[in-house]
């Protein structure tokens, strides 16, 4: 049953706007050289951090289409009628969202790194740190989408909710891009696991409480 849900979400994501966060990520990465100037040494020093900020802002874009359309059209109610736990629905949505968000973001990061004069070693470390972080970003996006579904100005509210929650991820993720960053990478992985494990329960409870 979960497989049917994941397939549906993937079909909707790739038929719709899965490329949008990727384009947004590249745009933000493009702005950095314009903002700080073409100094290659400076760019390569702030490059990994800039990519992380681009990733966080790109994670905000899909939030409004993750839960709200299904809540408004009664799909979430029908999932419950079919005996699916809200937590399972949320877990399926996190998995599907990660597949449509994580790998495209990594491709965009590889492209964006050329704009920021990253050397190959730093690029690899940044890619690994982003790869470890994207499941948590996807999980946070689904949880925040469930918390704000149906509220007025949900998009703005979602940003205010998600970005502070992503700070631990950003701290360890950005530190993991440094040369001596293996310890930070482990901590980032721990934060990521914690968020991925907790998010389905937060999202499930939010979906349930939105009904009454």
């Amino acid at each position: 049953m979960i497989g049917v849900l994941v397939r549906r979400d993937l079909r909707r994501a790739f038929a719709g706007s899965a490329w949008l966060p990727m384009a947004f990520f590249l745009l933000v990465a493009t702005l950095v050289p314009f903002a700080v100037g073409p100094d290659a040494r400076l760019l390569s020093r702030i490059g990994p951090g800039a990519l992380w900020i681009a990733a966080l802002t790109a994670a905000l874009l899909p939030i409004e289409r993750l839960i709200e359309p299904d809540r408004a059209s009664g799909m979430l109610d029908q999932f419950a009628v079919h005996g699916l736990a809200e937590e399972s629905v949320a877990a399926a949505k996190i998995l599907a969202h990660w597949v449509s968000f994580g790998p495209p973001l990594l491709i965009a990061a590889a492209l964006g790194s050329t704009l920021l004069a990253l050397d190959t070693a730093t690029l690899w470390r940044t890619m690994i740190a982003l790869a470890v972080g994207t499941p948590a970003l996807a999980a946070l996006a689904v949880a925040v989408a469930a918390l704000t579904a149906g509220l007025p100005r949900a998009g703005a509210l979602a940003g205010i909710l998600l970005l502070p929650l992503a700070v631990p991820l950003l701290i360890f993720g950005a530190a993991a891009t440094a040369q001596s960053g293996s310890g930070a990478l482990l901590l980032e992985a721990a934060v990521s696991l914690f968020i991925v494990a907790g998010a389905p329960f937060v999202a499930g409870a939010a979906i349930r409480s939105a009904r009454s």
């Binding site: 049953m1 909707r12 038929a15 059209s73 009664g74 109610d77 029908q78 419950a80 009628v81 699916l84």
Partner: protein, 191 residues
């Protein structure tokens, strides 16, 4: 006598700090049809949602067997052709594709099978939600305002599927402020 399809035992429901009903008992068995009536805002839809397990009772217990719900939410992917959108629920319930085709036929939607859901008119969308219930093969149907948007021919088709469902041992709980076709036990809320 077999177990009831739906039973409310001393059920009370509160919404937004207001009592909608208290100490309600009802039983729907095989072949039964219960028509919830009463003015707007009296709690008909809430009772349906409570029966579906989407709301929690303040007190009392609700028992239900396998059921299907049709309310005013379409719950079909707007970009998919109608038949495929219905097949999604069929796949989720591990049902047979044949049921979807039969449901489309009985509700007069066969010619719309390849039309995207977003292009359906209000009446056609209502038929589509009813087709979802018919295709589910559940023994208990919970219908919220099933007549809304239906034309005379649609009402006739609905009357037919309801009669077939109840004759086959199914039960129906329907909320409507209009008279429903067929023989129904009436339950008037707000008294």
């Amino acid at each position: 006598m077999s177990a009831p399809l739906l039973s409310f035992d001393d059920v009370s429901l509160w919404r937004g700090g207001r009592v909608l009903f208290e100490h309600l008992n009802l039983i729907i068995g095989a072949g039964d049809g219960l028509h919830l009536c009463g003015p707007n805002g009296v709690g008909k839809s809430s009772l349906i949602r409570l029966a579906a397990g989407l709301l929690r009772a303040a007190s009392g217990t609700v028992h239900r067997s396998g059921f299907a719900l049709a309310d005013d939410a379409l719950a079909l992917d707007p970009e998919l052709p109608l038949r495929q959108a219905l097949l999604f629920w069929c796949a989720l319930a591990r049902g047979q594709q044949r049921c979807v085709d039969e449901a489309l036929e009985t509700l007069g939607l066969r010619h719309l099978a390849d039309v995207p859901v977003r292009l359906l008119s209000a009446g056609q969308a209502k038929r589509a939600t009813l087709a979802r219930v018919v295709a589910s093969q559940a023994s208990l149907w919970l219908l919220d305002e099933p007549l809304n948007g239906l034309d005379a021919e649609g009402v006739e088709r609905l009357a037919h599927v309801l009669a077939v469902h109840r004759a086959g041992g199914g039960g129906v709980l329907a909320a409507s402020h209009m008279p429903l076709p067929g023989a129904w036990t009436q339950l008037e809320l707000g008294h």
